[in-house]
């Protein structure tokens, strides 16, 4: 099980609970769509999953590890070793080239470096493969990231997330800065890569039209009413 949540409650300090999830399980290779209006706790869920914050109550297990039981350093380590994260925008370090941005995870995590070497020979080879897959191979890898379009930047971010084959990729509104055509192509690539590497994907979006493409959907409704889970 990649993600296993039970009786999860999260509240900002001193506020009423923002997020309640009774049970959620995501198996390896499965994809989860998280929808809901702004302020419904979507981003908080991603922070919980990535181990940046801890649940107020209940259990949040990622890759069999209960987040609350791990030290902050161990949670950072878990994120480095097993997760790829794609933000809405501004995913890349402006002072690194496209290639160096993509190689960041294998520099931070020995495990991902080893996995990349096992499966692709060398991280640079994996990065080239990802660029090809994502239609970025026409650009020289040394391209400064500020020369990339927003769509290209998002695809570089996806390449970085999949670098070193993590078990889980988390994407926070990755398509909101893209137009419709780009959005569909982007989703195609994201899910395609996840399938190919049997990587689990959790994607947050306010765009309901995308929900059908995922194995599971989770609709968050905000602080008061309970979140309801709709099995597909």
């Amino acid at each position: 099980m990649v993600i296993s949540l039970s009786q999860l409650v999260y509240a900002w300090p001193g506020q009423s609970p923002l997020l309640r999830i009774d049970a959620l399980n995501l198996e390896a290779g499965q994809s989860l769509f998280v929808g809901g209006p702004s302020g419904s706790g979507k981003s908080s869920l991603l922070s919980l999953l990535s181990g940046v914050v801890l649940p107020t109550a209940g259990d949040c297990q990622v890759l069999g590890q209960s987040m609350a039981a791990l030290s902050p350093v161990a949670r950072d380590r878990l994120r480095a070793d097993a997760m790829g994260i794609v933000f809405q925008q501004f995913n890349l370090l402006p002072y690194l080239s496209m290639m160096d941005n993509v190689l960041l995870p294998v520099k931070v995590s020995h495990r991902r470096h080893a996995q990349s070497c096992d499966r692709h020979g060398h991280p640079v080879a994996q990065a080239r493969g990802l660029f090809e897959r994502l239609g970025l191979d026409a650009l020289p890898p040394s391209t400064p990231v500020h020369q990339l379009s927003v769509g290209q930047q998002q695809r570089v971010a996806v390449a970085r997330a999949f670098m070193g084959s993590p078990a889980l990729v988390i994407a926070d509104e990755p398509t909101s800065a893209l137009d419709d055509d780009n959005r569909d192509a982007f989703l195609e690539l994201l899910l395609g890569l996840a399938n190919a590497g049997s990587t689990s994907v959790v994607m947050v979006s306010h765009d309901r039209r995308l929900a059908d493409r995922f194995d599971q959907q989770l609709w968050l409704v905000g602080p008061r009413p309970l979140a309801e889970k709709i099995p597909s």
């Binding site: 997760m83 370090l93 931070v108």
Partner: protein, 432 residues
């Protein structure tokens, strides 16, 4: 990993950071210069006369006597009988004794009447006198009458008035000035120009005591202002006078060198026990050092100002780093997302501030030293301070080290802010 990121990140913000570097560099220059000038000025001052073990003059204030005889500052001291020169020369323990007579000027430059032996024994900051051009004036004798009117120029005098070996020079009586009487009848010929020393001798004109005496033959006997009448009398008197008769009756000071420096206090007691006239023998280095102590208040104030300025500049480093930090919140969030800890963010900021401070200090050090190299001639000639490149006093190194430590400590402020932010922002930092 962290190093590479820190360097690349800093390089991408180099235009902003270069101002931080500059600010540190300027304050490092200031602190270093204060420390070094303090050291060198003190040394230049207290070693303005070296090689001379005792300076003998009529009893009075030792510091006033030294200020006048060495730097020609303050009121002229009383003269003493010239006969003491011979007494001192024959005193046991004394290696040599050289006369010094002051009073006249050439334009601004004081005239030092002395003997030709002076050039062999006088030292400035342990360095013997060297001739840039020409030679010392010869010892006047019956066979070498013309030596009476030979003259040697200090380095600054020669360059200031553009005089060369062979030039004819007329000295003025007393303190000089537009209305002072000129020694028109006794022109001197430049036979040598000294190399710069950094001492007061650079601003002096040197003649033999016989020459000094010859200028004044007939003066005081004949009423002043008789014009050519008096001038002719002086000429006639001089022409008839044997060189041996041109010995001075009084001297401003006698410079004494000892055979054995450890006996300096015995010799001093001996000199001060002279019965014919109350004398004193002054240890020039010690007395000048004591005089310098008086200036230490000003010196310490300067130092304090330097340290406060450098503290202010280090605070501004923290302020600049803090101001730049908000632009980096996004960067921290990205690094957090790939698995770096908040502590790593802290190290990143700390490292950057330390490197920026270090680079600033190094730039300041190099700029200050090369500035010193360029300015050393000017400092020596105009201020009489001889500075030496790379002779950085230990306390200046300590001050630099303290600045670096302070910078790293101050870097804790932005580093802590980065730590707090990366904890609270998590992965959702705003794009600044």
């Amino acid at each position: 990993m962290i190093w590479q990121l820190a360097l690349k990140s800093a390089w991408s913000r180099r235009s902003g950071l270069s101002f931080v570097v500059l600010s540190v560099a300027v304050s490092a220059m200031l602190v270093l210069s204060v420390f070094q000038l303090r050291q060198d000025a003190r040394q230049s001052f207290s070693q303005a006369v070296s090689g001379v073990d005792l300076m003998v003059g009529p009893r009075g204030s030792a510091s006033e006597f030294l200020l006048y005889t060495v730097f020609q500052l303050g009121r002229p001291s009383r003269n003493m009988q010239a006969s003491h020169l011979e007494t001192l020369e024959n005193m046991p323990g004394v290696a040599w004794a050289v006369p010094l007579q002051l009073g006249d000027r050439y334009r601004e430059a004081p005239v030092w009447g002395t003997s030709s032996a002076f050039f062999g024994v006088f030292r400035v900051q342990q360095q013997p006198l060297v001739f840039a051009k020409g030679r010392a004036f010869a010892k006047p004798s019956a066979d070498n009458r013309s030596a009476v009117f030979e003259l040697v120029l200090g380095a600054s005098v020669a360059s200031r008035y553009r005089h060369h070996v062979g030039d004819q020079i007329v000295l003025t009586h007393g303190d000089g000035g537009e209305l002072a009487a000129r020694h028109e009848q006794t022109p001197f010929t430049v036979v040598g120009v000294l190399a710069p020393t950094g001492g007061s001798i650079d601003r002096a004109v040197l003649v033999s005591v016989q020459g000094f005496e010859a200028m004044h033959v007939g003066w005081g006997v004949m009423p002043m202002g008789l014009g050519s009448g008096m001038a002719n009398v002086q000429k006639d008197l001089l022409a008839d006078m044997p060189v041996d008769a041109l010995t001075p009756s009084s001297l401003t000071a006698i410079l004494v060198g000892l055979q054995d420096r450890s006996r300096v206090f015995q010799v001093r007691r001996q000199i001060e026990n002279t019965t014919t006239e109350p004398l004193m023998a002054v240890l020039p280095g010690v007395t000048l050092d004591e005089l310098w102590q008086v200036l230490s208040v000003a010196e310490n104030t300067l130092l304090l100002v330097g340290l406060v300025v450098s503290l202010a500049s280090l605070m501004s480093v923290a302020a600049l780093m803090l101001a730049g930090l908000s632009a980096r919140r996004r960067e921290f969030a990205i690094l957090r997302a790939v698995g770096l800890s908040p502590a790593a963010m802290m190290r990143l900021v700390m490292l950057e501030t330390a490197v920026v401070a270090l680079v600033g200090l190094l730039v300041g050090l190099l700029a200050q030293q090369s500035g010193l190299m360029l300015a050393s001639d000017w400092l020596r000639q105009t201020m009489g301070v001889s500075v030496r490149v790379w002779s950085i006093p230990t306390e200046a190194w300590m001050a630099l080290g303290a600045m670096l430590l302070t910078a790293v400590a101050i870097a804790g402020i932005p580093a802590w802010r980065a730590y707090r932010w990366s904890l609270s922002d998590g992965l959702s930092a705003p794009q600044a």
